[in-house]
């Protein structure tokens, strides 16, 4: 009498998934990867911003407005704002994923993303307003 063969699995994938012919969605590392890339970009941008803050420490409005009117500064500020709020949103998403469970998870994530988007847009508009303001302050 031969014993029936024991079922075995050679791959770390469920038999159902093999039967369906589905693999991974191939997007599993997008969030992680975007977090690293934005972090790397933010290192030099933040360094530049720190230098500017040191240069502008205690300055009056006219000096700051003149600084914000220069195209190079506007471009750097815009890049800094977009990447900061993108990176912030990615990071806070992980915090929410870890600590907010159940029904509250979706509204919490959407609220956070909406707030990050709005504050980021607000920052972009402020930078553009500084960039496009007339030198006489009007």
């Amino acid at each position: 009498m031969t014993s029936s063969p024991t079922p075995r699995m050679d791959v770390m994938r469920s038999q159902l998934s093999r039967a369906r012919g589905l693999g991974s969605a191939k997007t599993g590392v997008d969030h992680w990867w975007a977090e690293r890339v934005s972090a790397i970009a933010l290192v030099p941008l933040s360094g530049w911003f720190v230098l500017q803050v040191v240069r502008l420490a205690g300055a009056e409005h006219a000096t700051v407005a003149a600084w914000g009117g220069k195209p190079a500064n506007s471009a750097m500020l815009l890049a800094l704002m977009v990447l900061t709020f993108h990176h912030m949103q990615l990071g806070l998403q992980v915090v929410i994923d870890d600590y907010v469970h159940g029904k509250a998870h979706l509204p919490a994530s959407l609220l956070m993303k909406g707030a990050a988007l709005l504050i980021g847009l607000f920052a972009v508009v402020a930078v553009l307003k500084l960039a496009l303001a007339r030198p006489d302050g009007a």
Partner: protein
């Protein structure tokens, strides 16, 4: 039984009676390690930096609005409490950058041995505190120079 997860906690004593099995250890049973504080501090610093960025946007908006709004913001940034908040924001940002650079190194496969991580922890604390103090002193120094120049 209120929660289906309780079913996983049912066990038998050696005499066959039912018992509630112990849960996995909670945070307080572990001995304090610097690396575990630095790990959660990085997350906290990220959240604090995010809150500070909101304040930074207020500053930018005031500069865009005009001299009157800018003076109002300056009242906040020159107040001791405002100064304390700025110092806290700087500390959070500097630490988040330091810890972020360590994470990038770990992701690339460097300094990821337990020994190295334990050795690098105090260095990260020192670099953070040093850089924060130098940065704050420089900013306050430049601001003081500027106001004394204006006064004379």
């Amino acid at each position: 039984m209120q929660d289906v997860r309780d079913a996983l906690y049912i066990g038998h004593r050696s005499d066959g009676t039912l018992t509630r099995r112990p849960m996995s250890p909670h945070l307080q049973v572990y001995r304090f390690r610097l690396s575990m504080f630095l790990s959660i501090a990085n997350r906290a610093a990220g959240v604090a930096a995010a809150l500070g960025a909101g304040l930074g946007v207020c500053w930018l908006n005031a500069a865009a609005k005009g001299p009157d709004s800018f003076r109002k913001v300056q009242k906040v940034t020159r107040h001791p409490l405002g100064r304390a908040a700025l110092a806290g924001w700087t500390l959070a940002l500097v630490y988040h950058v330091v810890a972020g650079l360590r994470h990038l190194a770990w992701d690339a496969g460097y300094r990821f041995e337990k020994k190295q991580i334990n050795r690098d922890g105090p260095v990260a604390v020192g670099v953070t505190l040093g850089a924060t103090l130098v940065l704050l002193a420089t900013i306050l120094g430049v601001a003081a120079c500027r106001s004394s120049k204006r006064a004379s």
